[in-house]
Amino acid sequence: MQNLVQELVRIVGPEFVTDDYWIRWSYSMDSSMFELLDAKPPAIVVRPGSIEELQEIVRLANKTKTPLYVRGGGTSCAGTRGTRIPESILIDMTRLDKIVEIDEESLTVTAEAGITWGKLNAELEKRGWRLGVKGPYSGYAACLGGSVAYNAVAYASARYGLIAEEVISLKVILPNGDILVTGTATNPNAKRYYRYANGPDLTGLFIGSLGAFGIIAEVTLRMYPKADYSAYGAYAFKDYEKAHKCYYDWLKNWIAEDVAWYFEDGVSVMTPELYEQGYVSLLTYIVEDVTEELINARKKLLDEIALKHGGVPQSPEYARQGWIYRYELLPRWAGKIGMWQWTCHLQSAGGTLKALKTILGYIKSRKKEMDQKKVYTATVSVAERNCGHISTSVYYDQSNPESVKLAIEMAKEIARIGMESGGSTYKPGELWYPYTILKNPVYRGALIRIKKALDPNNIMNPGALTIPDKLEEV
């Protein structure tokens, strides 16, 4: 590996390459429990400062057949790193954090993959613009490229869908070092203003790919005028069916930025004051828009739907706090009840209730053991345009191996139940493979063939998407 270090020093300078054992170890984690179980440091960490440097690194890795792992904010919680090969290079993307262009002509913003969502949102806001999706639930320190590569959900997904749906174009470094630009900019004379253009949608190939087919270097997203008006609502229900009808109708009318449904265990943990009053569901909505009239009209309809289905109005603060402070309220739970593992997946809007009940039934069956081992759950459904979404956060005590063990077991089981109930994961990762890609040989076969074509040396996140380390054997 020493030769590689020297080559990398030539590319990025000595300051931004390290093979120091302890510094490498500090890169052996992300936010998932999977890295706790199998933390392994890469051999080298490198921090490129330009797309050209990134391109050269990829070329070098391809030439030497050295596995590459790419890391943005390091906040993934899905177990997205493939086989943890020690003789590998980890690319820390966080120096690639510039906004390339705020293109008012095209109504798009293009930024380097290592920019944090916090910076991207703040910079746009300063210039009078806003994003549709605000960023993944990993928080504002998560990076743009990573969220796209693992197809994350976001605040405002009820209105705009997953982050993927707001992506207009990608600039990708392919495994051989070539640079691919997707969407309208496939025409070298055109700007990046629409995704579906000039042929098949190659953008989609890289969304949710976990970097297995190339490294996302730049992302272009839609942007909208800054919204100065917002409104919030919260309704509690003692009856699951009525809550579900309200949830379904809110989705159907597609008028809220964000819709969340806190299910029984979520209500008991997050809002115990409501649980004590016998409520088993809390529904919240958030709307934002450019005029007060639009906001009022949307709010009126959402409130009417909730009241029609028997929702009991609650303080809008339940919705507002989460929205204005974005992700800042989430990690606080670690201080109260422990670290969490998400089990987020999609469900059909109408099928959400059945799946939620099945999951809750499973959780109740483990209650005694959970109490003993300090494991808690909070199940929340966050809408994605026409889809429901279920996420049971399994909270656990990181310092207690028994607690960790039970949490992992439960997260896996909830994932299985979710998939068997007709759910589908959006962000791939270790938690989901046994119930998704590995269950579908045709889909997996297609992924492997694409991998062979694009990355014959299998340098890009080997093992991700269940693609075997040794391509020649498949």
Partner: protein
């Protein structure tokens, strides 16, 4: 003592969600845009930031890494930290009892105090006898001379000879309010001018105080930050005895670092022995602000039109929420105070905290230069500080950067308006 810290640190590292807000945070609502100064001034590898250090500490607890085998690069990275507390300030894991205060939480509402984790890792390096040579040298000076410069203790009170009035000595019956000069200001020519200014102001405000002169010893603040917990403990115990002997009822500190250690760490490590003394601890900016408020100190306020900006010292502002008193003093002079974008809880470190004044790892650039640039951006002609370390660091920063801005202590500014 190490056991006490170890237990606390263990609880902290297992609460970390690894969300990365300690490293790369950007928040429009309060101008948070640069959290860790080491991200700007080093290679920015994960181990330079709180999340990486926390993870490494956890690996040590779990036996996956052995502290004695720590690499030199890792030692450098751990000693690169300024312990400025910005990472802690922006950590989202808050004590549930403080949730009602959100988003206006104070430093100690945080369940993960990253300062402690850094100090713990440093203490392991010290135990293994492997700190950087500059750190060793400084600690040796503290141990033998009770100051970082290795200068004789007798020189600690030399500054009073520059005054045209007499300063009482507490050891000779000079009252029970101690003006605690600390171990930087009396020995540093530039910072000594601040002592003189404060002494004059206190006299004008009729504050009855005395010094301990050569009997004053270091507070242990720097030793604690550098991970020399044994030395810190020795200083704490010796100070306890000295303060007890002289029946000290109040301490006025010059350095926010001393203020912080008397206020926060002596009560923890000395327990009841300390609390029984019932000593009131104040930073000099608090004493002066009180004197202005109660009209014991008359300010002519003839600095109108002077554009100044104020740098919040990390140990005074972020860690102890003293934001208003220094500003009140500045405003009392009539000066036009223009805030830097990164101020108050978002203040950017001067680069001198956590031993940064004495030790600069091979690859680290100058945080003080970054801060000077931020000050200059305001258009201010004077950068006002309230800490002798900040004063010397930022003055050096201005020289290094070739930026024309005057760096003054708040007491020096005030004395020109009295």
């Amino acid at each position: 003592m190490i056991n006490l810290i170890e237990e606390k640190v263990k609880q902290m590292v297992y609460r970390c969600t690894r969300c990365g807000y300690c490293r790369l945070m950007f928040r429009a609502r309060d101008n948070t845009e640069r959290v860790c100064p080491l991200m700007d001034t080093t290679s920015g590898f994960e181990l330079y930031t709180a999340r990486g250090r926390n993870w490494i500490a956890r690996q040590i607890f779990e036996g996956k890494l052995v502290a004695e085998k720590m690499t030199q690069d890792a030692i450098n990275a751990i000693y690169a930290c300024f312990i400025c507390g910005s990472c802690t300030e922006h950590c989202l894991v808050l004590d549930p009892r403080s949730w009602g205060r959100f988003p206006n939480n104070v430093y100690d509402d945080h369940l993960i105090i990253n300062d402690e984790i850094t100090r713990y890792l440093r203490s392991l390096i010290i135990e293994a006898g492997r700190p950087p040579s500059e750190v060793k040298e400084i600690l040796r000076n503290y141990r033998h001379f009770s100051n970082p410069y290795g200068k004789p203790r007798d020189e600690r009170s030399a500054w009073i000879k520059m005054l045209d009035f007499k300063v009482k000595n507490i050891a000779e019956g000079g009252g029970t309010t101690l003006f605690y000069t600390g171990s930087i200001a009396p020995y540093d020519e530039r910072a000594t001018k601040v002592l003189l200014a404060i002494a004059k102001i206190l006299k004008l405000a009729n504050v009855d105080y005395g010094i301990l002169g050569s009997q004053e010893i270091d507070s242990g603040a720097e030793a604690y930050d550098l991970g020399e917990l044994g030395l810190f403990e020795e200083f704490a115990k010796q100070n306890l005895a000295i303060f007890k002997k002289h029946d000290i009822s109040k301490i006025i500190t010059v350095s926010p670092h001393d203020y912080n250690v008397f206020k926060k760490y002596y009560p923890v490590f000395l327990g009841e022995d300390w609390s029984k003394l019932n000593i009131e601890v104040q930073h000099y900016t608090q004493v002066i602000a009180d004197a202005i408020k109660s009209k014991k100190l008359q300010v002519k306020a003839d600095l109108s039109g002077k554009k100044v900006t104020y740098h919040d010292p990390c140990y005074l502002g972020r860690k102890n929420s003293i934001y208003l008193d220094p500003r009140m003093i500045i405003l009392s002079t009539g000066a036009n105070l223009i805030e830097m974008k990164l101020s108050r809880h978002n203040s950017y470190c001067c680069g001198g905290g956590g031993g940064g004044k004495w030790y600069r790892p091979p690859e680290r650039t100058h945080a003080e230069v970054e801060r000077i640039k931020q000050a200059k951006e305001t258009g201010a002609e004077v950068l006002v500080v309230a800490c002798p370390i900040c004063l010397t660091m930022l003055e050096d920063g201005a020289k290094t950067a070739g930026i024309d801005i005057k760096v003054m202590d708040v007491a020096e500014l005030l004395i020109t308006a009295i």
